[in-house]
């Protein structure tokens, strides 16, 4: 091709002259000569149907047209939680997130030129410890759900036992991932039932079930039904006596009002970082898997994922940060690594740290209080209309409304609420036939939205 025929593309760096120069150096006439060692029969000769928009404007418009078919949580009013939540991302936070220095680098293999993101991740880990009451945290896992799986495997490695216990009030998606993650290690899972009145785990039953063959127990608090597990401490002492590790899955916003898992004795605390500022909902990803633990010299070596620590340099007295305990990781230990995780959610972790720094102590508490009060307002207004919660246990910002929508009417209910610009929560069925709805309030819903919701539910019931 001559220079005059050459057509550049914004993502391709070389001009025809560059290409010719490099080919000349390599002694080849055609760039395809670099593929000369590949058998002809496997080279693809056809054409493929791949979308193509030549200009940036055309590309943007085409995607916008497609996306326009979505209805957002801002056009509607979202009462959906379940592990992720619509949040407000302050302007400053996105400004930082768009700093190319943070988003276009990779894992800090050359620490000397990557101190910025390393320090930011160290600060993230530290903030998570403040929330969870733990001593240390890793620099992220994919999400809460994979965190449950990783935590179960970690307990098994620590205790060298192959049974794992969890409570029935677990989110179905997290349960599904847990089941998948433990197949390879052949862990057997057992479930502690919940009390059908309070919605809390059945403490007596849990104590009965726990014996010295279990590696760990996973308890969500507040649990998936929204109920606060206020007797959890009783279980923890019992578990520890039997050498069972206690993993708590915490709603990270609830920790502004609720005692931290570290304080009540859990060994490992996991959760979802999106809800405390990791980022927008993004249809469920990217998210931020939080994993934190009590310090133990031996157990820390079983923690999956990257960990940033403070260290020294060749210059006396100079502080630096680096990824530490790398011998746990796949790039060094290969088949003996604690996990296969490599690429994680570092930028979401950094984003979460910026969010928490913006909120500060008081802002973090304010947001949690608003969530609490909004949901309690809805609950009490519903009750005035004779619509009850499924469970009597205390809750934070989520609860199951006793609606018993028959399977056949589920779609109708969804549309009924959609017509009123409401996303009505997550359907959950105890009998496989009738559905109650798990609703969650963020701080984005104002009093009118809450009243509209109560009104709509009332209308449906009539």
């Amino acid at each position: 091709m001559t220079e005059d025929d050459f057509k550049g593309h914004p993502y391709l760096a070389n001009s025809q002259k560059d290409l010719d120069g490099m080919m000349e150096y390599l002694g080849i006439k055609d760039v395809n000569d670099l593929y000369s060692d590949i058998p002809e029969e496997i080279k693809f000769k056809g054409d493929l149907d791949i979308p193509f928009y030549e200009s940036e404007y055309a590309l943007m418009e085409a995607i916008k047209v497609k996306l326009s078919k979505n209805l957002t949580t801002r056009e509607l009013r979202s009462f959906i939680g379940g592990g992720v939540l619509d949040i407000y991302v302050p302007a400053l936070q996105d400004e930082i997130l768009r700093r190319t220095e943070f988003y276009s680098g990779y894992t800090q293999y050359q620490e000397e030129v990557s101190q910025g993101s390393l320090q930011a991740l160290f600060e993230y880990q530290s903030m998570i410890c403040e929330l969870t009451g733990m001593d240390l945290a890793n620099a992220s896992l994919y999400d809460w759900a994979t965190g449950v799986g990783e935590a179960a495997l970690m307990c098994a490695r620590i205790t060298k036992r192959n049974k794992f216990l969890y409570t029935s009030a677990i989110a179905p998606n997290r349960e599904a991932v847990l089941k998948n993650y433990v197949t390879g290690a052949k862990l057997s899972l057992e479930i502690v039932p919940h009390d059908s009145t309070t919605g809390k785990m059945d403490i007596t039953k849990a104590k009965e079930m726990m014996d010295e063959t279990f590696a760990g127990i996973y308890i969500e608090n507040p649990n998936f039904f929204g109920v606060i597990e206020d007797e959890i401490e009783e279980i923890i002492n019992d578990a520890h006596e039997k050498g069972i590790r206690v993993v708590v899955g915490a709603d990270m916003n609830s920790l502004a009002l609720m005692k931290s898992p570290g304080e009540y004795g859990a060994d490992i605390c996991i959760g979802e970082g999106q809800t405390i500022g990791g980022g927008p909902l993004n249809f469920g990803g990217p998210l931020l898997g939080i994993m934190s633990m009590k310090y133990d010299k031996r157990d820390i070596r079983q923690l999956p994922g990257r960990i940033v620590g403070i260290t020294i340099t060749q210059k006396e007295g100079e502080r630096a940060f680096c990824n530490t305990l790398q011998t746990r990781e796949q790039h060094i230990k290969r088949e003996r690594a604690t996990s296969n995780i490599c690429t994680n959610e570092a930028l979401v972790a950094l984003s979460c740290a910026v969010h928490l720094a913006l909120l500060g102590k008081e802002g973090y508490k304010d947001s949690a209080e608003t969530m609490y009060l909004s949901s309690h307002y809805v609950a009490s207004e519903l009750e005035k209309k004779g619509i009850k919660r499924v469970f009597t246990g205390e809750f934070f910002n989520s609860f199951l409304i006793d609606l018993k929508v028959p399977k056949s009417k589920k779609k109708e209910f969804t549309n009924f609420m959609l017509e009123r610009k409401i996303l009505a929560g997550i359907p959950y069925s105890f009998d496989g036939e009738n559905y109650d709805y798990l609703i969650t309030t963020s701080y984005l819903l104002c009093e009118d939205d809450l009243n509209d919701f109560v009104k709509a539910i009332g209308e449906w019931r009539n």
Binding site: N282, N340, A346, V348, K361
Partner: protein, 505 residues
């Protein structure tokens, strides 16, 4: 000469002063005294989050940003990581309100737009893979590997071949390969590579048996060398009853030129943050797609995203009785997938082919120039063309001048350039794994090579200079060993250590 920013930036906690606010979250007017958490669960002491004002938060993070090297600073030839340019339009598109504010549990009819894009992306990636069925649920390459291997395992179990639990992989494979194998409860059979860096066919023949679940192989391999015998390998493995897994970490070399499905692979993952340009995020988020053929399709994770042509309706298909289950809480890293879609659509089929070609050309040019520098040699098969990356060995530098591959990497930092991946793959010595990508032009590569030349010359004269580099980075050479011994991994631990009078810098 490069001078990286250096601030003695305190930890954000040490900037905190009581009562300052940086942002006021939305709030309601309900009386706060109505908050009644059960006594046994009440928090008595608020978490010590820093209290700053808005401007100070901004300064803190801007300073940290300035102490960070990135793709947009300069050449970042990390082998196996494909550090290509992250198009800015993708960042803008991903920030559409119609993307950001979608809850994963919203009813299908309210998210037809994003489902359509995900579906079209699945089709495009499936086309490039030569494997028709695709999931986007896996949030990273390692998760993709885990998923693909789980499909293979499920297939064998389903065909009453439960004993098939061995995955064969060469000793040049990525570290995630063996780790994902073990996570699936399978055994890794590592086979030695040939002198030319390719799979040793005799070793492969010897490794297959009635226990073989599959072969896991990236192609081109981690040396950047194409496994030309792939068809024969595929036959050997298939005759033994095994399946083939393609680790797509190196797909940038052949995108649009060769389809893994046509090489005999049954299942693969692509790293959307490598070949398809989505940002690496300082470690993540990335995303992976997993594509497979008809025999593995029944086992794909739930839900799959399907399309009903008659009703022009996109939907989640949960009705998959043989599925391996779920690998992510929701549908994977959707906002990353959207960026990958935008990248693919900005290039089209021909454009993608050109990226592969230029990626190979820049890599060959770079390694052939670098190998001429006193201190370096090319690892394995000197006459074989490389693909998107190549591996040099700094063995002569170490042997003749006491300068290690790591030292040279550190010296390069002083030029405002990033080091390659060092000490990987493990089958090379003093490995320098170079992958410039199509984002680098000839001039930039020439400058990179010149910089290596200049630094090697300095190092040959003064070995101490080499051992203490870098000099112009934010901090001096970092000692990782100290961090492992002392484990100062949170502010809480830092405070405790300082209170106990222990030394922490």
């Amino acid at each position: 000469m490069y001078r990286q920013a250096k601030y003695d930036e305190p930890l954000i906690f040490d900037l905190s002063k009581k009562g300052r606010r940086a942002n006021i979250p939305p709030r309601c007017d309900f009386p706060r005294e109505d908050i009644k958490i059960p006594e046994s669960m009440k928090r008595t002491k608020l978490p010590e989050l820093p209290e700053l004002h808005e401007g100070e938060v901004m300064r803190h993070y801007v300073r940290l940003a300035q102490m960070n090297y990135c793709v947009d600073t300069g050449m970042y030839p990390l082998g196996s990581c494909t550090m290509k340019y992250n198009p800015k339009i993708n960042e803008t598109i991903a920030r559409s309100e119609k993307m950001m504010y979608l809850h994963p549990n919203q009813p299908e009819e309210s998210v037809q737009g994003i489902l359509q894009i995900l579906y079209e992306l699945q089709v495009a990636l499936g086309n490039l893979a030569g494997l028709p069925h695709t999931t986007l649920q896996t949030p990273a390459g390692a998760s993709g590997e885990y998923c693909g291997l789980a499909l293979i395992k499920a297939y064998h179990d389903d065909h009453e071949n439960k004993q098939r639990d061995e995955i064969i992989a060469p000793d040049s494979s990525h570290g995630t390969n063996p780790a994902s194998t073990v996570m699936n409860g399978m055994k890794l059979i590592e086979i030695k590579s040939n002198e030319d860096g390719r799979v040793n066919m005799d070793a492969l023949k010897a490794a297959v048996s009635e226990k073989t679940a599959g072969l896991m192989l990236t192609n081109p391999n981690t040396l950047g060398i194409f496994e030309k015998d792939i068809i024969e390998m595929s036959q050997i493995v298939k005759e033994a009853g095994g399946l083939l897994y393609y680790d797509g970490a190196n797909f940038n070399a052949i995108v649009g030129k060769i389809r893994p499905g046509d090489m005999g692979y049954d299942v693969l993952h692509f790293n959307l943050h490598k070949t398809f340009s989505t940002p690496h995020g300082g470690g993540g988020p990335g995303a992976a797609s997993v594509s497979c053929n008809d025999i593995l399709e029944p086992y794909l994770p739930v839900p799959t995203i399907d399309y009903d042509k008659d009703k022009d309706y996109y939907f989640f298909n949960h009705d998959r009785p043989k599925s391996i289950g779920k690998l992510h809480g929701y549908y994977g890293n959707v906002a990353i997938a959207l960026r990958a879609y935008a990248y693919i659509a900005a290039l089209g089929f021909e454009g993608l082919q050109h990226t592969a070609e230029q990626a190979c050309l820049t890599a060959n040019y770079a390694v052939r120039k670098l190998e001429k520098i006193d201190g370096f040699r090319l690892s394995h098969g000197p006459s074989i063309p490389r693909k998107h990356e190549g591996v040099l060995e700094a063995t002569p530098a170490l042997r003749n001048y006491d300068v290690s591959g790591k030292d040279i990497g550190k010296m390069i930092l002083d030029h405002g350039m990033h080091a390659p991946t060092v000490y990987f793959p493990l089958i090379a010595h003093e490995a320098w794994m170079v992958e410039p990508t199509e984002n680098e032009n000839k001039d930039t590569i020439d400058k990179y090579v010149d910089a290596v030349e200049i630094e090697m010359e300095k190092a040959r004269k003064d070995v101490e200079y080499a051992h203490h580099a870098p000099y112009n980075a934010t901090v001096s050479r970092v000692d990782i060993g100290w961090s492992v011994k002392n484990l100062v991994v949170s502010y809480k631990i830092l405070k405790e250590k300082l209170e106990n009078g222990e030394y922490v810098p």
